[in-house]
């Protein structure tokens, strides 16, 4: 992160940093909320903020995104409210209900499956001449799945405006990338489909943003898929249920922390005269309050009626589901009348 400043407006440069700070703050808070039992399993993204935000910065507001469970920094930057990851981890049905204004798919957890959805969305956009691209985001682990291959092959054969972004954070739970694949780069796999592949330092938000901008433009104009590998590092655990000290050593963790994209970017901005201690403190405070706000919102959402589990299975409930819904509703309501609460097991 030296040399000629990239061709982006100064307020963008600062805005990215603001989002990085905000999301780092969010991530730490979410971890604590899980430890307090206020939300369930949570997958922290600390260390990947630059890769995520840089990558989303190139999209148009109506583009499609099909991402993984670890992409919340990018999604928040793209416009998904901060309460969304909290609802999702809390196990609230609205966790998957993305805002109507955004073409962002709900998180799905089956590794690699969303790549094919991205292909279908890119195809739908092309057929309807909407000019949208479909960006799919996934991890290094996902590249081993058959769906990865099927998706890239289909997108290449059909010439679809699909962008495949691999967040190579070096680990798939406990498996290091060199045991996941025997190639030096994920980007190299583009050769198997005769499409372009780029390997980028994902911890450099400027490099990421710049490459992604040219990629998104090219994909939109030429209607061809591209594979991008963002090299980054998962600073924390896989999820709140994971203990990375079982499989990676302190030295590696320390090296990862030393390459923290926030530290790098703060240094760059400071050197460019775009950031000072006061501004940073202000941002930190704003971040804190944005996160507080999301947590409050989570608490406001309150309890959900169990019988709503039937409401989004089909557009119209078949008779049998109607009956089952009724039974469940009666049972829960009877319980409530008894003061017994929500039917614990």
């Amino acid at each position: 992160m030296v040399g000629t400043p990239p061709n982006v407006a100064e307020d963008h440069l600062v805005d990215w940093f603001r989002w990085m700070i905000t999301m780092r703050t969010f991530d730490q808070r979410a971890w604590n909320l899980q430890r307090q039992g206020k939300i369930g399993t949570y997958a922290p993204f600390s260390g990947q903020e630059a890769a995520q935000i840089g990558c989303m910065s190139a999209l148009r507001a109506d583009d499609w995104i099909a991402s993984s469970y670890r992409e919340w920094a990018g999604l928040a930057y793209f416009g998904v409210p901060l309460v969304q990851p909290l609802l999702s981890s809390a196990g609230h049905p609205d966790g998957g209900c993305m805002p109507e204004s955004l073409n962002v798919l709900p998180i799905q957890v089956v590794i690699g499956a969303q790549l094919l959805h991205g292909v279908g969305l890119a195809w739908a956009s092309k057929l309807q001449q909407q000019g949208r691209v479909a960006m799919t985001v996934f991890g290094d682990g996902a590249t081993s799945q058959g769906d990865f291959h099927e998706a890239l092959n289909l997108a290449s054969v059909m010439k679809l405006p699909a962008i495949f972004v691999c967040q190579n954070n070096r680990w798939a739970i406990s498996l290091p990338v060199e045991r996941q694949m025997n190639v030096r780069s994920v980007a190299q796999r583009a050769l198997a489909y005769d499409i372009d592949g780029f390997r980028v330092d994902g911890n450099d938000v400027l490099a990421t943003a710049q490459v992604m901008r040219s990629v998104v433009d090219r994909v939109r104009q030429e209607q061809v898929p591209v594979l991008v590998e963002l090299v980054t590092y998962r600073l924390g655990a896989h999820t709140t249920a994971d203990d990375p000290t079982r499989y990676r050593d302190a030295g590696e963790q320390a090296a990862g922390a030393a390459a923290d994209p926030l530290v790098r970017y703060a240094a760059y901005l400071t050197a460019q005269g775009l950031l000072d201690a006061a501004a940073r403190a202000r941002m930190q405070q704003e971040a804190q309050s944005a996160v507080d706000h999301a947590v409050a919102e989570l608490e406001r959402r309150g309890r959900v009626d169990a019988w709503t589990v039937f409401d989004q299975v089909y557009a119209t409930r078949p008779a049998q589901l109607e009956e089952q819904r009724h039974e469940l509703q009666q049972r829960v309501l009877a319980h409530r009348a008894d003061g017994a609460g929500g039917g614990a097991r």
Binding site: L105, A113, L121, W123, G146, E150, Q312, Y314, A319, Q320
Partner: protein, 322 residues
Amino acid sequence: MSQMTMVQAINHALRLELGRNERVLVLGEDVGRNGGVFRATDGLMAAFGPDRVVDMPLAESAIVGAAVGLAMGGMCPVAEIQFLGFIYEAMDQMASQAARVRFRSNGRFSAPLVVRAPFGGGVRTPEVHSDSLEALFVHTPGLYVVMPSTPYDAKGLLLTAIRTPDPVLFLEPMALYRSFRQEVPEGDYEIPLGAARVVRAGTQLTLVGWGPVVPVMEEAAERSAVSCDIIDLRWLSPIDWPCVLASVEKTGRAVVVHEAVRTGGLGAEVAATIQERAFLSLEAPVMRVTGYDTPYPVPLLEDDWLPNLERIRHAIKRTMEF
């Protein structure tokens, strides 16, 4: 009206809907230039062009997965899995993806797609091609499952399926593709979602089945002295329980017939529900005539393995004599 085979009726439905709704597209292996290995999509590419009728690379997960994306993106894809046995390759996209789009997004997105797949025995296919796997999908909430047994139903059910705002698995019994012709309207018609078909009215015993066994049940009933109500379920998910239960309440006896292997087949659900909801009407246990608990056999053995006339008659007899 004209006389059509089932495969022609399916072709008509696709043609009609491709013409009516430009969001509809047909995709699958060999569905375009070749018109499908059974010619179900014959002529469609010539009529609607390669953007609407798409020959796909050989990858079932990609076919269904891309269809899920297309559907979320505003299209109405009708995907073909060349033989149902190959749907295992797309099982995640069927059961954890297509079936959950609406649920996962709490209503923000939906996946109005159809997956068509031929299946069923008696046509001497190599392994895996003939397997009846409907039970797996009926056990998967979020999917509709439907199976015609006549040309008329095939066209009407397929039109209904394509217009249904949720994913539908449309199962086509290969043995019935060309086994007989029937008057089928040239125009548009639907068959209501979830409605079974009473094939024949009787008083002493209810025969319940679906797909390829329906004509076999009919023949068994015709040749039997026992007066049989015959119900072709058609919709396997959801099942038309009022129709089934009303019949059993009338007859007091039921035999369920399917080609799928016995243990864990959908016949178990039918028998379990009948005994649960019509217990006091039952004069005899609900019997099942099904495939045996083996992988689908090689062609030289399949005739003896399938539910046939004799086995159905035997079950009717045992039920009546119980």
